[in-house]
Symmetry: C2
Subunit: 697 residues, 2 copies
């Protein structure tokens, strides 16, 4: 608390500069650098330190890719159904299909412990830019400078962890111009409380995804436990009794994953012509493979579902991004902006200008980028057992080194998260593994060419199907105890192992490690320094009150509830519960427009006029899913679950003429929980009331 | 008839050479170069000239991509459901969904005329190698030699057409070593007689496609008309009353589309690492786009279905081919074969060896091959209206030139087929057009990069969706009368047109034409000469009794009915009608394993023990679909509809240890037509009997 106020002091100094760059309601703002003058000027709103602290500590980072919030003093967490889906799927089986049928625990005893969910709450931010930059000495090459920074980061993390017991993370802001140390409270005992059927959580499926109007109850509830008891969470959001209307000011507090608004034109063209084409090339194939698996039968459909939803969502999002970048009008604007910014560059130690440095670095990596991307970039392997094998092999190798020399994800500060993943007892379906591995091997060979040395090793002289069958037939890594034995046995156990997947990775992993080193040395280190220089140019031109690109850390966005105009037609900001039934009827209840039986049977119990989904102008991006939507008082009025198709270019550029964030209205959540799911206890815990809330419309 | 016997004389001379290359039942044999000694030696079978003539003239090439046969003296044609599907779809509407519900015309009057189906029957083959080669003068560059050959081909075609009134086609065999003139009788008035529901025609859908055991009634019936009356077809196949058993000798007469067994190793690696990866990259995206369209509603599902089936089938086939080529064991065998063949090369006019010439030509095209492939290779455009616009613009430009200077598909000999396509009144669904065009534009930009000059022109400075909406909103090409007006108006009409799609093509088509010229000059002309040289080396090493790669012209394959062994498990050669019900039950009747209502209701009428689908060792490939399967007498015992997954590598290499052709047994066809479809008249026409045939099992 005290340290956090310190951050606010820094903030006060920085925000005295005029926000000349930012128009509309743009911005994913740092909690320690809020756009106070814009908020005051445009909305007459002045956040108090208490308001900010509550937002910071009631906001939750969920697992590895979503947002959430505390909604009761007893660790109750609300997020999206699609954010919780991985956990719900892991708790499901052929007998208990909670994805399809939903789940509700009326008492703590009935809550189901999730195999590997981690919740992070940001407790404190400390500026560490100067200390990290001091580690870099004059004349160091970009690669050496990067190593020096890494070593300093490792030292800072270790010190902070020892001092606070919290989980440290160094966050690189403005792509290298600033560094902050974030300290998180972590919960790893997380239990499922409530999930609706995925047919209403993801009503309209892939068809309606990223569209509006919408009718989704995209929510799920979990509970953080500490020492086997529900966690105490005094910082949580209160459920608003007031409701919202068009034009109301709305705040969204969450963890936007990644934006690329500060990218140079050369870098954007690399995304447009290399990275996005490649990722879509992979996603299309994965989607087709998962659809084929799912079509085989009911159980296959169940085990493929999570992968399929993930890939379909990504495919649609990346398609929207690519389509935006292919629009010459958007690129022309980026080119104009860059030309104007380049005029500010006055040179630095005789170095080439940073835009040229980035362009040259891209030329260096272009040829072998697909190999880096496919083999190492995501570090997830082609299937779960291969990924586990890779992590076990690397953990053994890295843990034998001093902390500062390790790959970042094997530093001491990261081991708890690694172990949560390695020892998760989430089910591993061998048929899903086989399809993923075989399809992945074929894809690797398809994109890199079958004579690529890594592909030759991956295929091992046979075809993909034969290879997958052989490697998956000889691994015991689906067994948690075996993984624990190998992890605890360290290098000796790994080197002695006869497990087919461990042996495969022992041989194959050299390719990924070499590509990573090459990528870090020739691209990442150059990029970090160049973007730091570009950020300096931006600070010179626009002042320091600009927000950095998203980094999957906590940000605040502001905006208003606002309808849309499309093709001359206006779209109302709110849908209603009754609209869901009409939407289903319009599609003859054909999947994915089939409402759950509970909804069809319970229709008469519902007040169909209650607002259901709604749209706002807040600046969000992937990772914001599950973010609480708050009113001026900081009370909860909804939950973000999507952005419209038009918002996908927000990755590169914000524009709220057409694009919108999409949320579920808190009023509909209460109505459904009460009338359809019999979740009175849950409603009472959130709202503090069993009686019907006064609902304003 | 006389001339055809002439061809047989040539055949007799050629076949005196020993068939040392061919083992097993390999080979897609030319009707004028049958493997007589193998047939005699292995099966004691000697085809008579009458037997060969009947096979030639009762075999039918169906539309642009399948095989079929005459099965009555009155023009009745049998093919696969999936071969006829395009025509069935074109006859369907939201009111009459013949794809979903099936169709049967009990009388001629009820038969439905197809918008644009052409049937070709091979009437005569004339050798023209010497005349074509004589047109090439010493010292000509490969590109000039190709032009000289093209001009001579144009002259030969024109002469033959004037002389015979038949449709001429010069067929390039052994990739350039031999040329034959094929003369076809053509039927363009083709009417639908019978189609089953596609849920039984394609029972098991994409999941079971290329698999075995199978249970598909993959048949449909059409009738050729001449002068408004059923055509007289004295050459037709008789329905066998004998049935078949395991190990019986089977002939398959059809039109295998394309094999690449004579390709050099460099060329195979180009397929493996460039062509197949690229085509799959496109197919995956197209499949996803069609699935998204189909999911939107019932009518969208209907209009997307044909495209979807086409793409899914292609995706699975190309995947099988690629997986085979990625198998280092198969490539090693190809390398050994090539090494042994290269020893035969003794040089020719100081030219580099042909393997090196092909490798060098590939290096020339590799960089811009994707542009050629995407923009020009298939000449199909991104959607139907764009394709029509391109054909109209080119037809106007080409028809203004002398025949010998034209692009091959606009030579006089080809105009009737072109006009059949241009003036087809098959429905054009604008929503399908929009999805295809938008998706196609995005794909073009994704694969070529948005700064590629052709992509800049294609997108026209906006995003793909905006461009597609604008161009499709301003075209009247869905109207046949407008297309006819533009075609008949020639260049003047085209240049004066304000149609958005015509204007687009007038500007854009330069890219395709330039790429085509470049590809023909730098690759095709080199390839033709080099493969002719390689063929000479093969003739030297193996004698002339080797079959050429498939060319979508008539071939005969022989083999036997034979079960499979897989993973130590043996698979029976025949399935039964009863097996279809069991297969549906095993999948809980979940689509695509849902039998039509007619089958479920009519089950008790069926003899469930009747053989249904079966497998043989015959050498087939895509294009063979719908081929008649014949016994020694040349009587019809079944129809080909598929090959197993293992047969997909037959594209490059035949191997019948695991791979099989898959057919529908004639006995099951009669049983189903009679008991389920009430098609007694159809059965009588084919079998000459209304009473139950004696069925041997």
């Amino acid at each position: 608390m005290h340290r956090w106020i310190n951050s606010l002091v820094t903030l006060a100094i920085l925000t005295c500069l005029a926000p000349s760059l930012v128009k509309a309601d743009e911005g994913m703002w740092l909690l320690n650098n809020l756009p106070e003058s814009q908020l005051k000027q445009k909305y007459g709103f002045e956040p108090t330190p208490e308001w900010i602290e509550r937002i910071q500590k009631a906001s939750v980072r969920f697992g590895n890719g979503g947002s959430a919030s505390f909604v009761s003093p007893h660790g109750l967490v609300m997020t999206n159904h699609h954010v919780g889906a991985d956990a719900i799927q892991n708790l499901s089986s052929a007998e208990h299909n909670y994805m399809r049928d939903g789940f509700y625990a009326a008492t703590h005893a009935e809550e189901l412990k999730c195999p590997d969910v981690e919740l992070n709450i940001l407790m404190e931010i400390r500026p560490v830019t100067d200390r990290i930059n001091a580690a870099v000495k004059d004349g160091m090459s970009p690669a050496d400078a990067a190593s020096a920074r890494q070593a300093e980061m490792s030292a800072i993390e270790r010190e902070a962890q020892a001092e606070t017991g919290l989980k440290p993370q160094i966050v690189t802001l403005y792509r290298g111009a600033r560094y902050d140390l974030y300290l998180y409270k972590r919960y790893t005992d997380v239990r499922l409380v409530m999930a609706p059927e995925d047919s209403i959580g993801f009503f309209g499926g892939d068809i309606d995804n990223f569209e509006y109007p919408r009718y989704n109850l995209d929510i799920s509830f979990f509970r953080a436990y500490e020492d086997g008891k529900p966690a105490e969470t005094p910082n949580h959001f209160k459920w608003s009794r007031a409701g919202i209307r068009e034009n109301d000011l709305i705040f969204i507090s969450g963890h936007p994953g990644r934006t690329r608004r500060l990218y140079t034109v050369a870098h954007l063209k690399f995304l447009r012509d290399t990275w996005l084409p490649l990722i879509l090339n992979c996603y299309y194939q994965r989607e087709v493979a998962m659809l084929q698996l799912a079509a085989r039968g009911e159980e296959e459909d169940r085990i493929a579902r999570e992968d399929l939803l993930y890939v379909q969502n990504g495919r649609k999002a990346f398609t929207g991004m690519l389509t935006g970048l292919q629009d010459a009008r958007i690129m022309a604007q980026k080119i104009r902006e860059e030309e104007s910014l380049r005029k500010v560059w006055t040179g630095k130690n005789g170095k080439e200008d940073p835009w040229t440095r980035i362009e040259s670095a891209i030329k260096e990596v272009e040829d072998w980028y697909p190999a880096y991307f496919l083999i190492e970039n995501r570090r997830t392997g082609l299937c779960r057992t291969q990924s586990l094998a890779m992590k076990l092999v690397r953990a053994a190798q890295e843990r034998a080194k001093p902390d500062s020399d390790r790959l970042a994800e094997y530093r001491d500060a990261s081991l708890t998260s690694l172990e949560l993943d390695l020892f998760s007892d989430a089910p591993i379906h061998m048929e899903l593994e086989r399809v993923r591995f075989q399809d992945g091997l074929m894809r690797l060979a398809r994109i890199l060419g079958a004579d690529h040395p890594a592909v030759v090793d991956a295929l091992g002289g046979v075809d993909a199907a034969t290879r997958a069958t052989a490697l998956l037939g000889g691994t015991r890594l689906a067994d948690v105890a075996e993984r624990r034995r190998l992890y605890e046995g360290g290098l000796e156990a790994i080197n002695a192992s006869n497990d087919s997947m461990i042996k495969f990775v022992r041989d194959f992993d050299k390719h990924g490690l070499a590509l990573r080193k090459r990528y870090e040395d020739t691209f990442e280190s150059v990029e970090t320094e160049a973007y730091a220089d570009i950020a300096d140019a931006r600070f010179t031109k626009y002042g320091e009150n600009v927000y950095p690109d998203a980094t999957f850390t906590l940000r605040l966005a502001y905006g208003t509830v606002k309808g849309q105009r499309e093709d001359g037609r206006s779209v109302e900001p709110f849908t209603t519960i009754g609209g869901a039934f009409k939407h289903a009827e319009a599609h003859k209840h054909r999947p994915p427009f089939d409402l759950p039986k509970r909804w069809m049977d319970g229709r008469s119990k519902l007040d169909e006029s209650i607002p259901y989904n709604f749209i706002t102008t807040n600046d969000i991006i992937g990772g914001n899913s599950g973010s609480p939507m708050l009113n001026r008082q900081g009370d909860l009025i909804g939950i973000v679950f999507d952005g419209t198709i038009e918002s996908l270019v927000w990755d590169f550029q914000f524009d709220d003429r057409h694009a919108r964030a999409v949320g579920v209205d808190a009023r509909a959540i209460v109505e459904a929980l009460r009338k359809l799911y019999g979740a009175e206890a849950l409603v009472k815990e959130m709202t503090g009331s069993t009686s019907r809330m006064a609902v304003a419309r």
